[in-house]
Symmetry: C2
Subunit: 356 residues, 2 copies
């Protein structure tokens, strides 16, 4: 079997998880669950036994380079890929795969975001191994599909051919963020899973797909082959990104390619996109509160409270709220209105860039 590489996408900003997720310190660099490891560290840890540490590549921004090195000190500089600007996931993945291909043209690659929560790590690894076996011997693009538990309108949905055997299923359709009624229909049909945004493929398959569906992007990063792993890589990349169009891997390839498969998965996944998604995966106290901090709660229910450990927080009479403090920003918000957090961040910016 080909060697396995892991590409961790760690360049996001994650404004919906504000005030924890901040421009200069986004959520992937936080110990969100209070386990002692940041989301980025947990993501890297998760691949132990799947690939060697020297085969983990992190794609991030120049501004987060020091955070990445600090949190994952085993990385060589060659394993940290710095995007000069954000261009969504397709260029990010193209950069990593063409760089890996330059050294190992048979690489099997797992692409994973740095800011997801996965509660059942052993089941995750087992799922990844299933996918790697499939992509090692077949020219297919694999995405992991999560059994949906509710008609969530914030996720992408994948319809698959239920008749095919095994847990690797051929994909029929992709649907991004359906409205509630449609999401409910998807759920009821039993033919849909959530798109986890975790991909597995052989470098030959994905680069062929780039050639076919995003030929301009493919050409840009293929040209870098002589420069990867040299001092000329960063200057080349800085120039390459200025020519790249911004597009997601889903829009650019997954929704178009006809060799996409999904591995049905159930490993306690959350994309941790929002406060509510953290609330969903967190342990709750007897009053259904998810708590992290030095807290005294009276008559407080269904809330998520995450405050600095050295501060005493006394709350009386909140039901269904987010109370979150980080780095000189305190947010108190009805949980049901968390979609407004993006708007809050925009308004907060007017008070100073240190708050966003």
């Amino acid at each position: 079997m080909s060697q396995t590489y892991v590409v961790i996408m760690a360049g996001g900003v994650g404004t919906r998880f504000w005030p924890f997720s901040r421009t200069n310190n986004p959520k992937q660099f936080h110990d969100v669950l209070g386990t002692g490891r940041t989301l980025l560290q947990q993501t890297a840890d998760r691949f132990e036994g799947i690939c060697d540490k020297s085969a983990i590549y992190i794609v991030t921004s120049e501004e987060y380079k020091d955070l990445v090195k600090e949190q994952l000190p085993f990385l060589d500089d060659d394993q940290i890929l710095l995007e000069p600007v954000r261009r969504n996931t397709a260029p990010c993945i193209a950069y990593a795969t063409y760089k890996i291909a330059a050294r190992d043209p048979n690489a099997n690659i797992v692409v994973a975001p740095a800011d997801h929560i996965i509660l059942k790590e052993e089941e995750f690894r087992s799922t990844i191994r299933t996918a790697l076996q499939a992509t090692d011997s077949h020219d297919i693009l694999v995405t992991l599909g999560i059994q949906p538990s509710r008609p969530d309108t914030g996720y992408g949905y994948i319809q698959y051919l239920t008749e095919s055997e095994g847990s690797v299923k051929k994909v029929k359709t992709f649907t991004e963020k359906p409205h509630l009624e449609l999401a409910q229909q998807f759920l009821d049909s039993g033919e849909f899973v959530w798109n986890a945004g975790i991909f597995v493929w052989n470098v030959k398959s994905i680069n062929k797909a780039f050639d076919t569906y995003l030929p301009e992007t493919a050409e840009i990063f293929a040209e870098g082959t002589p420069y990867y792993y040299t001092e000329q890589e960063q200057p080349f990349i800085n120039k390459a990104y200025s020519q790249c169009k911004s597009i997601s891997i889903d829009n650019g390839i997954m929704e178009k390619a006809n060799n996409v498969h999904v591995v049905l998965s159930d490993f306690g996944w959350s994309d941790l996109g929002t406060w509510k998604s953290l609330y969903e995966v967190s342990e709750k106290d007897a009053n259904s509160n998810s708590t992290d901090g030095k807290l005294i709660l009276y008559n407080t229910t269904n809330s998520i409270i995450k405050t600095p450990k050295d501060k005493l927080v006394v709350i009386n009479g909140l039901d269904g709220f987010i109370v979150a403090e980080f780095d000189n920003v305190l947010l108190i918000c009805r949980k049901e209105e968390e979609q407004k957090v993006k708007e809050f961040v925009a308004d907060a910016k007017e008070h100073g860039t240190q708050f966003v």
Copy 2:
């Protein structure tokens, strides 16, 4: 006319105003209204034109001596009276009046708590002058009475003889913290005012009252006459307080003496006993919020929010809450349940004395 002295009682702890009021830094030492002056400073400022700065005496605890000196640098050490233990207002007032009497046996004295808010300072001074004129020529004990605006059950009520002329009225009865129905009856009758706890008297009158109604206390502090303004004062006082019983001036004298008068007053007074009382006297925004801090409010009404100026606080969807942060303690509490703050403080103590 006799010279006027002002005694400011600044030894209280004020737990109901937690987390602002803290054992090591009670509310009288805070700039509660955000005016740039603390309550103690405002109290002293208020007597400009009434008495000389050298005739202002502060009674406080040893632990607050430095705070007092820092906030009122014009004070000589002789003007700062240090109680070794808290024994309620009667010993506090006895100490100050016997000390003043030792130097000026004809002194007119105003006694005022350090933690009240008075919005109309000119009317306050005018009221004080009226009281001083009355006590200068008559052997009476004067307290200031506030026209009640609501049936507040947290205040003391004074019934006065409505038939007497002028604004200095003879007092009939005192009633501490009546239940709501009684408070409403008091309000309806038009014969009652709130007891502001601000007293005016000649030193001869108050000391005669001590002799009559609290003879033990009188004896203890009269014995100190040779020691006041000497190095032996503090050792004497430390011993005296150990012999003193704890009693309020209201219980000990005002409710018993038959020469008590009240000056009807209306100067925008609040005893600032609780968060709600601060809310009552504060300016409110269009949504009836009293705010102090760097705030962005959405759909937030009838709340009092007081947070550190360097912290950005974003609130969505609170109605009728207290949100208060000071020195590493954050309180979020329904305004209607503010009477529970004392209970919170007791529970907070278990997390460390730095929080109370």
